[in-house]
Symmetry: C2
Subunit: 593 residues, 2 copies
């Protein structure tokens, strides 16, 4: 079926069902960052393969909203489809609401269709707020799904126990949640976020390669724990584990009926409207008390315990060894044989496979040479990838999922001669990185309040990177987790000892170069004083930072001391895992500047 045929088939169903506009987001039923093929309806119907986008279809028009990363791609892929691309993050964009307002200008009411399983409560409320001037009727039947004949099944991979690596037990975690529920006098807590569920139950899945979660829902009640998952995914051992821990198993699709049967008019229900589907929300009795709050499990999960921290350290030693070996290989072979961007990412994955406990990469490696690195989310493809020459920078952003933890490191390597501008920009990024992570800070401080420290040297160089400075990361879970981060966006989440967060300032100059230096940091207690308790950051990443591009005169004494201490610590901690030759190489790379 071509896009035009798909749209015509959808329009036929829309007409039969009296729908004015059908709304197709990129989300799955769990608002996951990485979505399984089954829920890529927007990609299927539009032919647009970018990761972000929303399609809207009316009787005689169709539009696709995506961001500036995908402007050229959307135009190419939508050509001749009858679907018009709109870019969202430009000045004065045509929004979905502008488009609908103009289209339905003469009407008083609009009938909007969407799949109630994949739209979150918040997404639906956004539509209501955006179209306040209309009377809106919603229909939640998945009309697009009805015409998608060869639609992939939901992923169905076996789940595995993760207790051994998890620290706190399932029952301890349920106790933490029930304490939170008791404070709200709640009877039930609905959890649809796959990373939260995996963390609570101490299980991991493999439904999609780069995120070790399993498609499922969970309801924690005062007396019961109800887990909604395809029973083919649960083997005998895990069935026993769940039974032992008082977890009742139900079919994945049963959750709405369950809520209909078990929740009463007097139930008090805690839920996160940004994380549960409109369909689940609608199945709760209307008069039940709904207490809406940010998923409390996200915060619990972000504060790692001693076992998780020990394991994260192990994972980062493994991945640091991988990147030491990669850099040695690169130096040895560059100029002797052809090395492309994909060669880089493939070689790194190959090195990871030699490490015990490696499961998969935690995201697709970004190996970006020279000006390609100026595109923050660049991913090399075979046909257009660059060959690494002996000039400028190679940026490599890569991470692995090990049973012990998830990693994410970026290094920018000088692979040959650098311009003065490249050296200066590299030094500013390094200064920003050090400025943020070397500061002691008072208990209660947010990552938002500290963010400016990483930007300060970059701003003084009259440049800004248009993204956050760092994100939380999972314990063998998702590479991007919250609720803490380093960002210009306001946040009221203070950094707490046990949180693990990346720091990755950068400079990206179009058609020139991209520079990013990223490590993973553990927030730790530093010192109790009469002024209060101070915290600090310890790098769990142990990969050497390329010192060749540094303009030493731009660095101050304390920055140089931080870098030298970082390198001597990395050498000491990595040495036991290296061969004699590797140790000698690393000694040279970590020499004091």
């Amino acid at each position: 079926m071509k896009v035009k045929e798909k749209l015509d088939a959808l329009r036929k169903l829309m007409k039969e069902n009296n729908i004015d506009v059908f709304y197709i987001p990129s989300s799955d039923p769990h608002q996951s960052e990485y979505v399984a093929e089954r829920w890529k309806t927007r990609k299927w119907i539009s032919g647009f393969t970018g990761s972000a986008g929303t399609a809207l279809v009316t009787a005689d028009d169709a539009g696709l909203w995506t961001d500036g990363r995908y402007d050229i791609q959307a135009e190419n892929e939508l050509k001749g489809s009858g679907m018009i691309p709109y870019i969202t993050n430009i000045p004065n964009p045509v929004t979905v609401y502008d488009w609908l307002k103009i289209k339905f200008n003469s009407k008083k009411d609009i009938r909007i269709g969407f799949d109630g399983k994949v739209m979150s409560v918040t997404q639906v409320r956004d539509i209501e707020n955006g179209l306040k001037q209309f009377k809106i009727y919603f229909s939640t039947e998945d009309l697009a799904g009805k015409i998608w004949k060869d639609r992939p099944a939901a992923p169905c991979s076996i789940i595995s126990a993760h207790e051994k690596y998890a620290g706190r037990s399932l029952s301890e975690k349920i106790k933490m949640i029930r304490e939170k529920m008791a404070a709200d006098k709640a009877d039930h807590f609905i959890e649809s976020s796959l990373d939260s569920i995996a963390w609570i139950l101490n299980i991991r899945g493999r439904d999609i390669p780069i995120s070790p979660v399993s498609v499922s829902h969970l309801i924690v009640s005062k007396e019961n724990i109800s887990y909604f998952i395809d029973n083919k995914k649960v083997d005998k051992a895990l069935t026993e584990y769940f039974s032992k821990n008082g977890v009742d198993l139900y079919d994945y699709e049963y959750i709405n009926s369950f809520i209909g049967k078990k929740f009463t008019k007097k139930s008090v229900v805690v839920l996160d409207p940004a994380r549960i589907s409109y369909e689940i929300f609608s199945s709760i009795p209307g008069s039940a008390v709904k207490i809406e709050k940010t998923d409390p499990v996200q915060l619990m999960k972000s504060v790692k315990d001693a076992v998780e921290i020990r394991n994260m350290k192990k994972a980062l030693i493994k991945d640091s060894v991988v990147l030491v070996r990669f850099q040695m290989w690169l130096e040895k072979n560059l100029g002797k044989r052809k090395i492309t961007e994909l060669d880089v990412s493939e070689y790194i994955t190959r090195l990871r496979k030699e490490q015990n406990g490696y499961v998969a990469d935690s995201f697709n490696t970004i190996a970006a040479y020279k000006e390609n690195a100026a595109m923050m989310h660049y991913a090399p493809v075979k046909e257009s990838q660059a060959t690494i020459m002996q000039q400028g920078f190679l940026l490599v952003d890569t991470g692995g999922n090990y049973l012990e933890g998830t990693t994410d490191t970026t290094r920018t390597y000088a692979v040959g001669k650098l311009s003065r501008e490249e050296r200066k920009d590299y030094t500013l990024v390094l200064k920003g990185h050090i400025n943020l992570v070397s500061t002691k800070f008072l208990k209660g401080t947010t990552g938002h309040a500290l963010d400016v420290l990483a930007r300060q040297p970059v701003w003084n160089g009259m440049y800004d990177y248009k993204c956050g400075t760092g994100h939380g990361i999972g314990s063998f879970l998702n590479v991007h987790e919250g609720p803490q981060n380093f960002s210009q966006r306001m946040s009221n989440v203070p950094l707490e000892p046990g949180m693990i967060t990346t720091v990755e300032p950068g400079i990206y100059k179009k058609d020139k170069h991209g520079i990013r230096i990223e490590n993973i940091y553990l927030t730790k207690k530093y010192k109790n004083t009469p002024s209060g308790e101070f915290y600090c950051h310890e790098s769990l990443t142990l990969v050497p930072i390329d010192t060749k591009p540094i303009v030493r005169s731009l660095m101050n004494k304390s920055e140089i001391k931080w870098l030298n201490d970082y390198h001597s610590g990395a050498f000491k901690k990595l040495s036991p895992y290296l061969t004699q030759a590797e140790r000698e190489w690393l000694k040279d790379k970590t020499v004091k500047i």
Copy 2:
């Protein structure tokens, strides 16, 4: 009357009016920072003279809530009064609500009395929220006022035109407000904040010495401007000015009747619930649409125009000359004659009086020697003040109100031998000051996001100052104005070119010393770049910063450069206003380090 007698008289009235508890805040009808004597009811009834505090009186008990600054003072002043002091900002304090809950434990409803003129809408809502378990009845009659026989009249000083110094005209400012109102489709905007009113009308008052405002209310309607002020305060010239500008004059007390007559059930009214009284709010027809928002005039007022900026610069030249002369006098006389803390503040005021356009000090000078300076809000009193010796630090925080603008400067002078700790702390404070004000920052950045830059060196020294880093300041108005500031508290107000804000990090060590270095900065455009627009800060204060205490090895090159540039700029700009001897002295004080 003794406190006991006053309380008994109040209780008699409470009984007659069926009131369970009478609530006496420290606020005036305008939620002013500096309150005229008429509204110091809490001070009158309790005998407690601290600036902050709330008194509660029941049939058989009475309490006074204040903060830790006043713990000893409250205990002394309340001794034998039958009123018990409670401190609010300690861990697990007994709050007003805890106290009432325990007291009225067996009751279902509470009848609360307060003066509806002086409690803001927000204050009343806080009570409602704090006592949700009760059914609450409010009575807004000022029973305490009824027994205060010798109560001072409301201040009644003549107001004066300020157009000459104001930049934007009254009609331009009304236009700005009406544009905001139009966006909300509002018919009326109620303004009770005295600094906002003075700014809008381009008038200044002298109802209380340190704040050039005048007690009054203002209502801007779509067609009319209604000013509620005692007509004795308006002379002929100003009556003409108001008439020419379409400002209708009404008696101060008439505002509630005016609202009752002119506002309809269909009126749309913009108001700031934190800034208008419960009584005024209650006079608005119940079915009128009330649009509650932070007083928009505060933001308009904070962004100074070219005329206001030029005038502020003039005011700061004058006050910088004053502080140069003061420091010369101090150096010349110290060790030769006795100089006390009050001598310092009196001499500075005397020097100010020599300057054209000086009206009054903008707050009571803090002259604090050695350990006295560790108390952030120290005010010397004759009986207990210190004599300045030739050892340690003298902290002087002082400001003047000139027709051209309001000033606020803090210097910490080394008056003799310093300890190593004193030198180090001084250097950390100076580094923090420079770190914040020398950074270029992207348009859209808040003072909250920048705040950490001032704390960074102080935090790395394992110390935190328990206050904000800086506050907005008025154009011959209040010394503390918003909405922008530098603070750890979250804020969504970005810094804008034209805003004028203090920067004043510090270190306060109990029984040892207090250090603060405060200048006033203008936010300015710096450079437009492909990454966006960058802003910077220019110091309007031109007072030399004592270089004697600096530990040079703790300063980095860019900090030293900032200080040297600051000093050479201050010398250049102040020289034309100094005598030859003063110029030579300043040359020496501003020599490069």
